[in-house]
Amino acid sequence: MSREPLLPALLLWTALALLPFAAPAWLLAQLAQYLAYGLLAMSLAYVWGQGGLLSFCQALFFGAGAYAFALAGLGRLPLLPASPGLGLVLAVLVPTALALLLGLLLVGARVATGPAWAVLTLVLGVIAERLAVASPFLGGSNGLAGLPPLALPLPGRTLELLDPLPTYLALLLVAAAVQLGLARAIAAPSGSLLRAVREDPLRAAHLGIDPTRARLRAFTLAAAVAGLGGGLFAAQFGFVAPPLLGLGLSTEVLVWVAVGGRGSPLAALLGAVLVKTVEGLLGEWLGAGWPLALGLLLLLVVLLFPRGIFGGLLARLAGAPDP
């Protein structure tokens, strides 16, 4: 999709902003968590749907953001003070730098498509999780707990993001800003160059586009968004653990994005919220059998809605050409 339709996005964010008047606190807490996952889903939708890079290690950047937040919040980084605010900045910067480095190795080595890319990104996620388990600095398999919450300096006082309502509102604000920012990036001229590279890198190069640079930019931007999501996730829960980096979460986010629609970050975010909600409900109804039911549902969605449940809908609203 070349345009994220603006109206559905604005309606959604307005509705979610009004939700605290009607919803109980537990639901807001739940949604705040889903919105952090939603940032991860949007990052994958951008790099996969727009850039054509199906990354099996997107959680690596989410986890790196979470760990960066945790280490800075606990004051474990040499020369740096213990500061959750600094942690949130590092939650963006560290995954960005990591993606730039890995991207230069992977994208620069021209393995950006096909099986080599899939296997390499998959392996990277596994390695990262193992490293975190083996590293005492990162808290080993227990991870790091007792992180201080994020605090917003307001006039006259400091608001700690501990309670569901301010946490929810902060996540909502960030998610909306990221979604609208990505929509802008997609509609911008550089967004169409990225799609050209996705469609046919060789043809794009013959038009004067540098495919490696376009992919590297997309990969890095997506990592920054995923890292931000990871940092906010860690801030909500006050702890981080190796599975946040690993293959399990990287696969989960693929499911969210496939269900929601990879062509649009907004659709992917809705996919994350939908799948997490359905997961919870199926767990209540079916007990241990829920993954099986979820798998069947996923199969149905992929067969019936190749653009994703929300992706197809948004594409029609945007008047995108039929595939």
Binding site: S2, L202, L207, P323
Partner: protein, 237 residues
Amino acid sequence: MPTPLLELRHLVKSFGGVLAVAGASLEVEEGRLLALIGPNGCGKTTLFNLVTGIERPEAGSIRLAGREIGGLPPQARARLGIGRTFQVPGVLAALSVRENLEVAATAAGRPRAEVAHALEQAGLGRFAERAAGTLPHGLQQRLELAMVLLQRPRLLLLDEPTAGLELGESLAVAARLRRLVAAEGIAALVVEHDLAFVRALGAEVAVMLRGRIAARGPYARVAADPDVRAAYLGSRA
């Protein structure tokens, strides 16, 4: 004598021990239309790939306006003014016709306002919002050429622009090409199998045989060359 726009010297390229291009040399002057013909497998498309940077030569030099470009990636050569169309039209299938042109304009640093003009000129206005991959072959070729022209190339490489077209259509393409070269002063090198089209182009012809340029001149003279007749034209000439 002025420097030729494109100057190929003793180019060599092999694949798995098979010489595809075996010391080919060719010059294309500014504003010149030149047809490149030769039997299947004689190295024409490989020669194009060497010029646009898909392949790197093992030996020899490629100069554009006197500058060696043999080591540059395709995107750098495109920015220096080499435009190319492919045998299978290289349109971006999932993107709309308009977005294809927008991509070409943006990549070339041209204002997006030129897109509307290009749409009209190519006669693609009413297909603007269609996915490019759903257009019939002939329209995809037209779109591809419009994209390449948005680059404002100095040198246009056309790989079998009439593949899949009927005679009437291919003669129309020949007329359009002649007008284009005359009006814009672009140099064009056209790989073509269709000899009726080559005659209609009214251009000079270079013949490629076994990886080399074996002859060059007006169509009638090249067609009379005994080597060329034996190797390529046979009884069809």
